[in-house]
Symmetry: C2
Subunit: 153 residues, 2 copies
Protein backbone atom coordinates (compact mmCIF):
# COMPACT_ATOMS: atom_id res chain seq x y z
CA UNK A 1 0.00 0.00 0.00
CA UNK A 2 3.01 2.27 -0.39
CA UNK A 3 4.04 5.18 -2.54
CA UNK A 4 7.52 4.61 -3.97
CA UNK A 5 10.39 7.01 -3.41
CA UNK A 6 10.14 7.84 -7.08
CA UNK A 7 6.53 8.90 -6.63
CA UNK A 8 7.36 10.99 -3.61
CA UNK A 9 10.18 12.73 -5.48
CA UNK A 10 7.82 13.46 -8.35
CA UNK A 11 5.36 15.17 -6.02
CA UNK A 12 8.08 17.13 -4.30
CA UNK A 13 9.52 18.29 -7.61
CA UNK A 14 6.11 19.31 -8.91
CA UNK A 15 5.43 21.22 -5.74
CA UNK A 16 8.62 23.21 -6.28
CA UNK A 17 7.53 23.95 -9.84
CA UNK A 18 4.04 24.78 -8.65
CA UNK A 19 5.34 27.34 -6.20
CA UNK A 20 7.35 28.91 -9.01
CA UNK A 21 4.53 28.91 -11.51
CA UNK A 22 4.44 32.06 -13.70
CA UNK A 23 8.11 32.61 -13.05
CA UNK A 24 11.19 31.45 -14.89
CA UNK A 25 12.06 27.81 -15.38
CA UNK A 26 13.73 25.97 -12.52
CA UNK A 27 16.88 23.92 -13.08
CA UNK A 28 17.05 20.24 -12.16
CA UNK A 29 20.07 21.07 -10.06
CA UNK A 30 18.10 23.59 -8.03
CA UNK A 31 15.30 21.16 -7.29
CA UNK A 32 17.79 18.44 -6.56
CA UNK A 33 19.70 20.59 -4.06
CA UNK A 34 16.65 22.01 -2.40
CA UNK A 35 14.81 18.71 -2.08
CA UNK A 36 17.79 16.47 -1.58
CA UNK A 37 16.93 14.27 -4.54
CA UNK A 38 19.73 12.57 -6.54
CA UNK A 39 20.08 14.67 -9.66
CA UNK A 40 20.28 11.93 -12.28
CA UNK A 41 17.34 10.16 -10.73
CA UNK A 42 15.30 13.36 -10.72
CA UNK A 43 16.20 13.80 -14.37
CA UNK A 44 14.44 10.54 -15.21
CA UNK A 45 11.43 11.46 -13.19
CA UNK A 46 11.04 14.85 -14.86
CA UNK A 47 11.39 13.31 -18.30
CA UNK A 48 8.66 10.95 -17.30
CA UNK A 49 6.44 13.78 -16.11
CA UNK A 50 7.02 15.41 -19.48
CA UNK A 51 5.46 12.48 -21.28
CA UNK A 52 2.47 12.97 -18.99
CA UNK A 53 2.31 16.54 -20.28
CA UNK A 54 2.43 18.09 -16.86
CA UNK A 55 5.83 19.75 -17.19
CA UNK A 56 7.79 21.23 -20.08
CA UNK A 57 11.46 22.00 -20.43
CA UNK A 58 13.85 24.46 -22.03
CA UNK A 59 17.32 23.29 -22.95
CA UNK A 60 20.67 24.98 -22.95
CA UNK A 61 22.08 27.64 -20.68
CA UNK A 62 19.30 29.19 -18.61
CA UNK A 63 17.22 26.14 -19.35
CA UNK A 64 15.14 24.21 -16.88
CA UNK A 65 11.68 22.93 -16.13
CA UNK A 66 8.30 24.47 -15.47
CA UNK A 67 4.71 23.37 -15.29
CA UNK A 68 3.10 22.88 -18.67
CA UNK A 69 -0.32 23.91 -17.38
CA UNK A 70 -1.75 25.77 -14.40
CA UNK A 71 -1.41 23.90 -11.11
CA UNK A 72 -5.20 23.92 -10.75
CA UNK A 73 -5.40 21.36 -13.53
CA UNK A 74 -2.89 18.90 -12.17
CA UNK A 75 -4.35 16.41 -9.70
CA UNK A 76 -2.26 14.24 -7.42
CA UNK A 77 -4.24 11.26 -8.69
CA UNK A 78 -3.04 11.83 -12.25
CA UNK A 79 0.57 12.19 -11.20
CA UNK A 80 0.63 9.16 -8.94
CA UNK A 81 -1.21 7.03 -11.48
CA UNK A 82 1.36 7.94 -14.11
CA UNK A 83 4.35 7.22 -11.90
CA UNK A 84 3.08 4.30 -9.85
CA UNK A 85 0.22 2.71 -11.72
CA UNK A 86 -3.12 1.88 -10.09
CA UNK A 87 -4.33 3.68 -6.98
CA UNK A 88 -6.40 0.61 -6.11
CA UNK A 89 -4.91 -1.86 -3.62
CA UNK A 90 -5.71 -4.76 -5.96
CA UNK A 91 -5.92 -4.31 -9.71
CA UNK A 92 -9.20 -6.21 -10.01
CA UNK A 93 -10.90 -3.10 -8.56
CA UNK A 94 -8.95 -0.58 -10.63
CA UNK A 95 -10.87 1.45 -13.21
CA UNK A 96 -7.94 2.31 -15.48
CA UNK A 97 -5.55 -0.56 -14.79
CA UNK A 98 -8.07 -3.36 -14.41
CA UNK A 99 -6.69 -6.88 -14.37
CA UNK A 100 -8.58 -10.07 -13.75
CA UNK A 101 -7.67 -11.62 -10.43
CA UNK A 102 -7.27 -15.29 -9.58
CA UNK A 103 -10.43 -15.72 -7.52
CA UNK A 104 -13.20 -17.92 -8.96
CA UNK A 105 -15.90 -15.24 -9.30
CA UNK A 106 -15.04 -11.57 -9.03
CA UNK A 107 -18.60 -10.37 -8.92
CA UNK A 108 -19.18 -12.39 -5.76
CA UNK A 109 -15.82 -11.75 -4.09
CA UNK A 110 -16.18 -10.21 -0.64
CA UNK A 111 -12.55 -9.12 -0.40
CA UNK A 112 -12.96 -7.32 -3.67
CA UNK A 113 -15.96 -5.43 -2.35
CA UNK A 114 -13.96 -4.11 0.59
CA UNK A 115 -11.03 -3.22 -1.62
CA UNK A 116 -13.36 -1.31 -3.86
CA UNK A 117 -14.33 0.84 -0.89
CA UNK A 118 -10.68 1.45 -0.14
CA UNK A 119 -10.01 2.36 -3.73
CA UNK A 120 -12.90 4.80 -3.81
CA UNK A 121 -11.73 6.48 -0.62
CA UNK A 122 -8.20 6.92 -1.95
CA UNK A 123 -9.36 8.16 -5.33
CA UNK A 124 -11.81 10.60 -3.80
CA UNK A 125 -9.00 12.33 -1.94
CA UNK A 126 -6.33 12.29 -4.63
CA UNK A 127 -8.64 13.32 -7.46
CA UNK A 128 -9.71 16.32 -5.46
CA UNK A 129 -6.34 17.66 -4.47
CA UNK A 130 -4.67 19.68 -7.21
CA UNK A 131 -1.14 20.96 -7.27
CA UNK A 132 -2.58 24.41 -6.67
CA UNK A 133 -4.24 23.22 -3.50
CA UNK A 134 -1.03 21.58 -2.43
CA UNK A 135 0.74 24.91 -2.86
CA UNK A 136 -1.96 26.57 -0.79
CA UNK A 137 -1.33 24.06 1.95
CA UNK A 138 2.36 24.90 1.92
CA UNK A 139 1.56 28.57 2.38
CA UNK A 140 -0.93 27.85 5.10
CA UNK A 141 1.45 25.57 6.95
CA UNK A 142 4.36 27.98 6.67
CA UNK A 143 2.91 31.47 6.42
CA UNK A 144 3.54 33.80 3.49
CA UNK A 145 7.03 34.42 2.15
CA UNK A 146 8.49 36.73 -0.47
CA UNK A 147 10.33 34.11 -2.50
CA UNK A 148 8.68 30.82 -3.41
CA UNK A 149 12.05 29.11 -3.29
CA UNK A 150 12.17 29.80 0.44
CA UNK A 151 9.45 27.30 1.08
CA UNK A 152 10.50 24.21 2.88
CA UNK A 153 8.74 21.30 1.29
Amino acid sequence: MKLSVRGEYALRALLVLGLSYDREVVRIQTISDQQNIPKRFLEQILTDLKTLGVVESRRGASGGYRLARPPEFVTLAAVIRHIEGPLAPVSCVSERFYEKCSCPDESKCAIRSVMKEVRDAIVKILENVSLAQLCERVKLLQGEHANPLDYII
Copy 2:
Protein backbone atom coordinates in the same frame (compact mmCIF):
# COMPACT_ATOMS: atom_id res chain seq x y z
CA MET B 1 -0.26 1.49 -3.16
CA LYS B 2 -0.76 -2.22 -3.70
CA LEU B 3 -1.59 -5.27 -1.63
CA SER B 4 0.84 -8.09 -2.36
CA VAL B 5 -0.24 -11.50 -3.56
CA ARG B 6 0.85 -12.81 -0.20
CA GLY B 7 -1.54 -10.44 1.55
CA GLU B 8 -4.38 -11.38 -0.73
CA TYR B 9 -3.76 -15.09 -0.12
CA ALA B 10 -3.78 -14.46 3.62
CA LEU B 11 -7.19 -12.82 3.42
CA ARG B 12 -8.59 -15.55 1.21
CA ALA B 13 -7.30 -18.25 3.54
CA LEU B 14 -8.71 -16.51 6.59
CA LEU B 15 -12.03 -16.13 4.88
CA VAL B 16 -12.15 -19.88 4.30
CA LEU B 17 -11.37 -20.46 7.97
CA GLY B 18 -13.90 -17.83 8.97
CA LEU B 19 -16.64 -19.56 7.04
CA SER B 20 -15.71 -22.82 8.79
CA TYR B 21 -15.52 -21.32 12.24
CA ASP B 22 -16.92 -23.59 14.99
CA ARG B 23 -16.35 -26.58 12.76
CA GLU B 24 -13.38 -28.90 12.39
CA VAL B 25 -9.97 -27.72 11.33
CA VAL B 26 -9.31 -27.20 7.62
CA ARG B 27 -6.25 -28.69 5.95
CA ILE B 28 -3.76 -26.53 4.05
CA GLN B 29 -4.33 -28.77 1.07
CA THR B 30 -8.05 -28.02 1.09
CA ILE B 31 -7.55 -24.27 1.21
CA SER B 32 -4.84 -24.53 -1.41
CA ASP B 33 -7.06 -26.51 -3.80
CA GLN B 34 -10.15 -24.44 -3.23
CA GLN B 35 -8.42 -21.07 -3.52
CA ASN B 36 -5.79 -22.02 -6.05
CA ILE B 37 -2.91 -20.97 -3.83
CA PRO B 38 0.49 -22.79 -4.06
CA LYS B 39 0.52 -25.11 -1.07
CA ARG B 40 4.02 -24.50 0.20
CA PHE B 41 3.54 -20.78 -0.11
CA LEU B 42 0.27 -20.94 1.79
CA GLU B 43 2.07 -22.92 4.47
CA GLN B 44 4.40 -19.98 5.11
CA ILE B 45 1.54 -17.56 5.21
CA LEU B 46 -0.43 -19.60 7.72
CA THR B 47 2.63 -20.01 9.95
CA ASP B 48 2.97 -16.27 9.79
CA LEU B 49 -0.68 -15.77 10.74
CA LYS B 50 -0.06 -18.09 13.68
CA THR B 51 2.55 -15.74 15.10
CA LEU B 52 -0.07 -13.02 14.85
CA GLY B 53 -2.29 -15.25 16.98
CA VAL B 54 -5.17 -15.22 14.57
CA VAL B 55 -5.06 -18.90 13.63
CA GLU B 56 -4.05 -22.08 15.44
CA SER B 57 -3.12 -25.49 14.12
CA ARG B 58 -3.35 -29.16 14.94
CA ARG B 59 -0.72 -31.54 13.60
CA GLY B 60 -0.83 -35.07 12.39
CA ALA B 61 -3.52 -36.99 10.60
CA SER B 62 -6.79 -35.09 10.78
CA GLY B 63 -4.78 -31.97 11.55
CA GLY B 64 -5.25 -28.57 10.00
CA TYR B 65 -5.90 -24.93 10.75
CA ARG B 66 -8.70 -22.95 12.34
CA LEU B 67 -9.24 -19.47 13.67
CA ALA B 68 -7.76 -18.91 17.11
CA ARG B 69 -10.49 -16.42 18.02
CA PRO B 70 -13.95 -15.50 16.83
CA PRO B 71 -13.98 -13.78 13.43
CA GLU B 72 -15.60 -10.71 15.02
CA PHE B 73 -12.29 -9.93 16.68
CA VAL B 74 -10.09 -10.16 13.61
CA THR B 75 -9.92 -6.92 11.61
CA LEU B 76 -8.60 -6.70 8.07
CA ALA B 77 -6.35 -3.88 9.27
CA ALA B 78 -4.57 -6.15 11.75
CA VAL B 79 -4.05 -8.88 9.19
CA ILE B 80 -2.79 -6.60 6.46
CA ARG B 81 -0.52 -4.71 8.84
CA HIS B 82 1.03 -7.96 9.97
CA ILE B 83 1.60 -9.28 6.46
CA GLU B 84 2.38 -6.08 4.59
CA GLY B 85 3.50 -3.50 7.10
CA PRO B 86 2.10 0.04 7.19
CA LEU B 87 -1.29 0.86 5.75
CA ALA B 88 -0.12 4.43 5.20
CA PRO B 89 1.13 5.36 1.71
CA VAL B 90 4.28 6.90 3.21
CA SER B 91 5.71 5.77 6.51
CA CYS B 92 6.13 9.30 7.85
CA VAL B 93 2.36 9.32 8.40
CA SER B 94 2.13 5.82 9.82
CA GLU B 95 1.12 5.46 13.47
CA ARG B 96 2.66 2.05 14.10
CA PHE B 97 5.45 1.95 11.55
CA TYR B 98 6.53 5.56 11.68
CA GLU B 99 9.78 6.44 9.98
CA LYS B 100 11.26 9.86 9.49
CA CYS B 101 11.16 10.96 5.89
CA SER B 102 13.76 12.90 3.94
CA CYS B 103 11.90 16.20 3.73
CA PRO B 104 13.32 19.18 5.66
CA ASP B 105 10.40 19.73 8.04
CA GLU B 106 7.69 17.11 8.43
CA SER B 107 5.38 19.27 10.47
CA LYS B 108 5.16 21.73 7.59
CA CYS B 109 5.07 19.22 4.74
CA ALA B 110 2.02 19.64 2.53
CA ILE B 111 2.39 16.27 0.84
CA ARG B 112 2.46 14.66 4.23
CA SER B 113 -0.79 16.35 5.18
CA VAL B 114 -2.55 14.89 2.14
CA MET B 115 -1.04 11.46 2.75
CA LYS B 116 -2.30 11.61 6.30
CA GLU B 117 -5.82 12.01 4.95
CA VAL B 118 -5.32 9.03 2.69
CA ARG B 119 -3.99 6.98 5.56
CA ASP B 120 -6.95 7.88 7.75
CA ALA B 121 -9.41 6.94 5.03
CA ILE B 122 -7.79 3.55 4.49
CA VAL B 123 -7.49 2.81 8.19
CA LYS B 124 -11.08 3.82 8.85
CA ILE B 125 -12.32 1.19 6.42
CA LEU B 126 -9.95 -1.64 7.27
CA GLU B 127 -10.20 -1.21 11.05
CA ASN B 128 -13.95 -1.47 10.80
CA VAL B 129 -14.24 -4.57 8.68
CA SER B 130 -13.83 -7.78 10.65
CA LEU B 131 -13.52 -11.27 9.28
CA ALA B 132 -17.06 -11.88 10.52
CA GLN B 133 -18.31 -9.00 8.41
CA LEU B 134 -16.34 -10.31 5.47
CA CYS B 135 -18.09 -13.66 5.89
CA GLU B 136 -21.42 -11.85 6.01
CA ARG B 137 -20.59 -10.19 2.74
CA VAL B 138 -19.86 -13.55 1.17
CA LYS B 139 -23.27 -14.82 2.23
CA LEU B 140 -24.97 -11.67 1.03
CA LEU B 141 -23.23 -11.78 -2.32
CA GLN B 142 -23.90 -15.46 -2.85
CA GLY B 143 -27.05 -16.31 -0.92
CA GLU B 144 -27.24 -18.91 1.83
CA HIS B 145 -25.77 -22.37 1.39
CA ALA B 146 -25.72 -25.52 3.47
CA ASN B 147 -21.97 -26.11 3.48
CA PRO B 148 -19.53 -23.29 4.09
CA LEU B 149 -17.00 -24.97 1.82
CA ASP B 150 -19.34 -24.38 -1.09
CA TYR B 151 -18.73 -20.67 -0.98
CA ILE B 152 -16.83 -19.29 -3.87
CA ILE B 153 -14.38 -16.76 -2.53
